[in-house]
Each structure stands twice: as structure tokens, then as C-alpha cells.
């Protein structure tokens, strides 16, 4: 009974785009270094937009768990991204406001890139799951 109530609380008011956005933001937040400027920005984004908070928390936990074994790769990935397009990043990291995000640090850039990829993958997976679930449980048009 309590479990069903918790699940109903968890998924109350949830729509498909909102769940995908919440999962994306949560996973990204979980991958980012704690209390870094980008982390603060994503947190602000979550607070100011209508994300689904329980789902964000779940996704954040998933991101933190994922960062445990994969966190060592973030720095290498960041270095690779930054060195691949030197001219582009030279222009970007000096832009007003962007310069506060500390994207020139390999660790931050790596966690942003890996977090965004993981978040997008998780969001796409949730969309696909919903799509297949809808195929099995189609919405029947009510008879007039």
C-alpha cells in the first residue's frame, strides 16, 4: 500500500517531455563536480524550470553512482575535447558569463560532456521505454 502510494507520488503530474528533461538534468547534475560553477547553474536550471523533482533526485543518484567508477575518465575526455578544437574553445571560454563556468578545466569539461551524453542517453531510453509501453498499452479513444 505504502509502496503504491510512493510510486503514485513519484509519478504524479509526470509527462513524457518533463520526465525526459528531469532525467537529463538529474544525471548531468550527478556527474558534475560538486559545488562547481556549472553545477550551480544546472541546479538553478532545475529549480527555476518545471522539472519533476523526485525524478531529478533519482537521476541525480544514478549520476553519482555512475561517476564513481567512471569519474576517472572525465578528465581525459575533457582534455580530448578541449584539445580537439582549440580555436573554438579559445573563443568560447573567454565569452562573458561563460568564463565563469570554468570550462577550461579538463575535469569540468569532461564531466559536462560525459554527463550530457549519459543524461541524453538516459532521457532517450526513458522516451523509448515510454514509447514501447504505449505500444503495449495503447490509449483507447472513448466512445462518444
Amino acid at each position: 500500500m505504502i509502496v503504491r502510494w510512493l510510486i503514485s507520488m513519484l509519478f504524479r503530474g509526470l509527462t513524457v517531455p518533463r520526465s525526459a528533461a528531469s532525467i537529463f538534468c538529474g544525471v548531468l547534475l550527478g556527474c558534475l563536480p560538486l559545488a562547481s560553477p556549472v553545477w550551480l547553474c544546472v541546479l538553478l536550471l532545475i529549480i527555476l524550470t518545471r522539472t519533476h523533482v523526485p525524478l531529478v533526485l533519482l537521476a541525480w543518484c544514478a549520476g553519482r553512482v555512475m561517476a564513481w567508477p567512471l569519474g576517472a575518465w572525465y578528465e581525459g575526455a575533457g582534455t580530448m575535447v578541449l584539445q580537439a578544437h582549440t580555436a573554438f574553445w579559445s573563443a568560447i571560454i573567454q565569452l562573458p558569463v561563460f568564463c565563469y563556468l570554468e570550462l577550461h578545466r579538463a575535469r569540468v569539461m569532461g564531466s559536462v560532456v560525459c554527463g550530457a551524453i549519459a543524461g541524453a542517453a538516459a532521457a532517450a531510453a526513458s522516451l523509448l521505454a515510454f514509447f514501447f509501453w504505449r505500444l503495449r498499452h495503447p490509449v483507447r479513444a472513448e466512445a462518444a
Partner: protein
Amino acid sequence: MKIIRWPAVAMLSLALLIGFFWMGHSGDEIVRRNLESFGSYELNTLFKVGAVDLSVYESYLRVDNITVMDPGQRGRALFTAQHVDLRADIASFFERRAGLQEAHVEQAAARILQTRNGRFVFLSDTARAMLAYEPMAVRVRRIMSWAAQQINPLAIAGVVAPYLGRDVAGPSTARVARTPEFRLPPGMRRPEFFLNLLTISNCTLELVPHGGADPVPLHGLRGYCTGISSMPRAHDQPITFAAFGYLGAGTQAWIAAAGEVDFRAGVTNITIDFAFSNVLLRSALPFARVYTRFLDNLNVQAGTLSARGRVALRDMIVQPSIIDVRVNGLTARAAGFVNELAWLNMLAISNTSLAIQVPLDNTPPYVHMDTALKEQKVQTQIEQFELRINVRDLQQNFLRGIQDLRIQ
């Protein structure tokens, strides 16, 4: 619109407004405490600030009664300033740089000491021995970096980080800061601290000659300097300056200088135009004593010194120029040149004037007084002249030239 959480936006806006008001009311004490602790730590001496007036809305900061105590001499102030006004450049804030449109320093006072080898320094030998060695440029750059970091609003992340989670390696922000980072290509970096215009008024520099003679005040100093930055080579304008002041207490002697220092083209070009007028020779001689002992024997009793000229360095190489030097009302009684001029028993001149055009170039000793004499770029008017010579010490052909001139 259903994407935005409007109550959260309202709460955030309210928090920002409260933050602004709170900074307006309580910011003075916070800034004063920060300034004092950082200044005392960096300078390794007592750094005191009297009052601070911070206005976030007008991006303005006024600091009164700054005192830096001398680390080498207890109880004596090394530097004091009555008022320092700073006006920030808001646009630079978004570029994560500490930019100041204007800084004004009023009634500042400092002591400049002459060392044994003729250099002028701010700190005494004792004070420098007490400080940990660090090149001055590095220290200044670190202070500028600190100033830039103070205005970073996201620095709050460093405050909240310990409450969000800490492990044995310390806060994650610290771990991130130590990782490799992307370096901008040369030529693309910008100074993180810059000051567009610095003005000073009614300042005093106390010049202390080596050897314990009375200090000479350079007072009533006023002037400006533009283009100061933590990275002069990457800044978009050269450093220009101009200053004017009076030398010596109760005299009409003035000194003025203006110039430009340009580091931008990868080389250092310096141009300084200077002039000073009616500087009392008796107050200037204690400083000259370090460079030559010849003037001691000249025993100058009165006279004033004036000069004007230009010193230009292109890629740190002195460019040829001429300095006009003029001595008026020179009264001296020279005696005792035993080693230099044994034949000279006594030379007395009174109320004499001397004008000389001295060449300046890149070959040592840089200031070529001997060339000026050889090329007869000298004009003099001797009023009263007395010369006594030791005949026994004269060389055989000493009078030959004078005899040829047939002087009666």
C-alpha cells in the same frame, strides 16, 4: 508559460534584492576585514584601514586612513593614505575580470630610501630581510589576482562546498582546481585586473639619502597614470603617466615628468620627458655623494640646478638624446683634491652660472659630460673667481697653451 517555476523565480529575485541591501549595509565591515587580513598577510606587517564606504549600486568603494606599518622599524608607518576612491568597471565583471574605471589616491605619504649602490627602494634592508623572498612582480600579480577573485559571485560555491560533501581529498572544487586546464594561445589572454585611470593629489614622498643626511620631501605631488594592468603585454593600451611636485620644504623647486611605457609589441619601449627647476644643490648633493666623491671636495655652498630632457628606450636600448642642464648662483670653494688634482690648491667661485648640453646614449657611462666639454657645449659666466695652484706639482708643459694664447 508552463516551463518556468514562477514562485522560484520570485524567491530568487527576492534573495538577490536582499543580498544587495545586505551588502549595502553590512558590506563595509566585511570588505574592511578582508582588506586588513589580506594586506597584513601579503605584506607581512600591520595593515590598517580606518573606514570603508561601499556602494554596490554605484559600484564605488572609498577607503579612508590606510596605514602600512614598517616591518623593519616598529611604530613607524611605511605608507599612509588619507583617501582612496575606487570606481569599478561593470562590463569587466561579466568577463570575470576586476576592472576599475578610476582610482584616486589623496594625501598619500611614503618614504623612499637610497641604498648604498644608489638605487631607490621602498623597503629598508631590515624590512626586506624579514620578508620571505618573492619577486615584486609576482607579489603584485598575486594581489591583483586576489582582487579579481573577490568579485567572483560563484566563489560562494567554495563556501557551500564543505556542507555539500567532503572526502579525504578535500572539497571537490579544490580537486577540480588542481587538474590540467586548457591554456589560451599566446595573444588571446586578457589581464584579469586593470585600472584605466589612476590619479593622485597632494601626495608626499620623503627621499632619504644614503648615509643618514636629512631627508628631502617631494611634496604636493599630483598626476595621473593610465593603462595599469596585471598583464601589460596583453593590455589594449600602453601605460602613460604624468606627475608634478615640489622638491624640498619651503622652496620653489619643482619637478615634472611625463611619459609612456609600452610593452605591447613584445618589446619594451619607454619614453620619459622630464624637467626640474631651481633644485637646491645642497639638498641634491647628499644623493649625488653615492655616485661620486668628487662633489664632496667641491664644497658647494649655494646654487640651484635645473634640467630638462628626454630619455627614450627602444627595446630597452637608450636612444641618443641631449639633456640641457643649468646651474645658477653656484658658490663653491674647492680644496683638497690631493689624489685627483694635486696641483690645485684652492678654487673659489661665486654666483657663477653654468649651462651645458649633455649627450645621452647607450654607451657607458650613458651621460657623457666629458663629450659635452670636448664639443664645447658649455656656456658659463663666472663672477668671482679665485684659483690657487701648487706650482711644484705642475707638469712642465702646463702653461704652454696659455702662453700660445698670449693672454695679457
